[in-house]
Symmetry: C2
Subunit: 399 residues, 2 copies
Amino acid sequence: MQYAELYKNELLENVIPFWLKHSKDEEDGGFYTCLDRFGNVYDTDKFVWLQGREVWMFSMLYNNVEKRAEWLEMAEHGAKFLKTHGKDDEGNFYFSLTKEGKPLIEPYNIFSDCFAAMAFGALHKASPNPEYEKLARDTFNNIVARQYNPKGKWSKAYPGTRNLKGFSLPMILCNLSLELEHILGPDKVNEFLPTVIHEVMEVFYQPDKGLILENVYEDGSFCDSFEGRLLNPGHTIEAMWFIMDLAVRINDKKLIDQAIKITLRTLEKGWDNEHGGIFYFLDVNGHAPQQLEWDQKLWWVHIETMITLAKGWKLTGNAECERWFKIVHDYTWKNFRDAEYGEWFGYLNRQGEVLLNMKGGKWKGCFHIPRGLYQLWKIFEDFNHEVADEQQSVLNSAS
Amino acid sequence: MQYAELYKNELLENVIPFWLKHSKDEEDGGFYTCLDRFGNVYDTDKFVWLQGREVWMFSMLYNNVEKRAEWLEMAEHGAKFLKTHGKDDEGNFYFSLTKEGKPLIEPYNIFSDCFAAMAFGALHKASPNPEYEKLARDTFNNIVARQYNPKGKWSKAYPGTRNLKGFSLPMILCNLSLELEHILGPDKVNEFLPTVIHEVMEVFYQPDKGLILENVYEDGSFCDSFEGRLLNPGHTIEAMWFIMDLAVRINDKKLIDQAIKITLRTLEKGWDNEHGGIFYFLDVNGHAPQQLEWDQKLWWVHIETMITLAKGWKLTGNAECERWFKIVHDYTWKNFRDAEYGEWFGYLNRQGEVLLNMKGGKWKGCFHIPRGLYQLWKIFEDFNHEVADEQQSVLNSAS
């Protein structure tokens, strides 16, 4: 079997049907994301990150795969809930809502806004509507306005003592600006890109270490503290495929090579040689990280890494990308996938065993796995490679 | 060997020397708590919880064990840093400070104040000083004033949608009011106790489940959400020895029995039958908790449980307390203790292996282990029991 076929089938036959079947709240609108292994709802709170991401996912499938009415209907269903209940009077998106849509957690987290903007942007492409367009544009502008103080009054850092900036926002902006190009226009995106690329590849990237740090001083220098020493290998590697997409757009071969170099260096540092899989967090100096979950293996880390490696392999033929891709593919497919009840597990312990017996929760929804499967399908669609024999046997025994 | 002797030796020969030797910052004052396995400082930030707790610990030893000048000097050293740098103009204690004492994280966390009040209260007993007395009293009053909105402007909960209250604060107030009795006076403490006991044993305790929940609605009812379903077995069991201390004080035998009943029920629910040890978090309905570290084994959970079981065993002769005490003692001594480099490890994975190779960090300092060893020494001082043979052999092989 070809990789392209494998990923396409998994997306369309195992993963998307799970969300279509289990995540729609027919009573109050929006999506359930707290779904156990079998798809039963175990908690009804609605987390705005995941509401936005699921709207985006179904819109994207409708835009790029096939004009299936049930996909568009699913996206519209989520968007209706999000625009009715999702934001406060200033247009800031809450972090979470009750089943009925009442605000639960205040808009302290700007990524709620990022995923809402992505959602309305993609849905506007699927089903043009000035209201969606305005929501996407206004929310994007609000994110840009809030970017230097994203937590606002909820920030617990005492001003001035240790001003750090985080990697997440420039990284998401990389991806978001491309996602909203049909709304922002190419000029705006082109104006935006050099700064974002500079931030990721020069400010957060530390040449002496060959690694990207999660938090740096405002001038990009290293801060010797828990936050400053933090490595998030999955985050770095995910950002590298956003960078490769931008590099392809601006036709910058050197930028692709640099992204591959950082990916491979991060993977060597982040791979668990004892049990396999990629660590969630590490301290760059090898100290104990403050995150107790540091040694766990997370779904998004692994599928995002597969995307980056597959893109690197395809774009340059790099043999290390190919070798690592096959290793990560095998680990991921074997440990995360649930052939029996659909979708994939999200959280494994260091040993690769299921840590949380569920398919979705507060942070895992209909996003990384289907987006990754789609990306991988498309990468391999005109880049034909057979799935290795060992992999075939894993598949056969699992289904 | 008797248990009393075992705990006394461990406290005075293995644990306290570790902190005396490694934790004092001679340059800027206060204590380092981020110490690796060998006692080397790997981070210099100063977390106010742990600054206060170490001042309390050395004061308590001076008050209750022996008038050693180095213990009092250590407590005064920490107190000086804490009173100079620890609080804002309104008397709220910051969460953390730099090595030099500059504020890093704002006073969003009222437990900083709780441990500061405990520190100055105990130090005032060791070395009477109107300034310490005033700091303890003012801080206590500030905690009481803030108790219904402890996070203040840093609270992320949208007001009114789901008003929950947490178990931590009433539980700490149980202990804190007794700790400050020499300052507050017995009348104030007697006035305070019935409310605190009622909160712990009737509001947070759920009779239908036989368990204490970490968060309940303001009227004490169950909230079916991640927060509302949360069990923290170590927290419940720790609170039960505070309750037993209060029960002894007010000579309430029924209250002791009820505390033992809750302890044993919590232990049956929280014990890991597969790998041993007590889980950190559980969902009361058996769903996936949101805490990824739920299956880890933490130092404080285990030593606090030993205290509660030993008190229950001594106060009532309850055979289940004795049986469980021996089980938890064996697990804890075997897995957490570091006979080679002093002090105990803090964080084990589910399998009982060391997860973080350190002795202190952002949350672990000079507190639970030495306080627990002191408590256990005193419990067994006039309650003679031989350490079981298997335990002796563990000790011999380890040292």
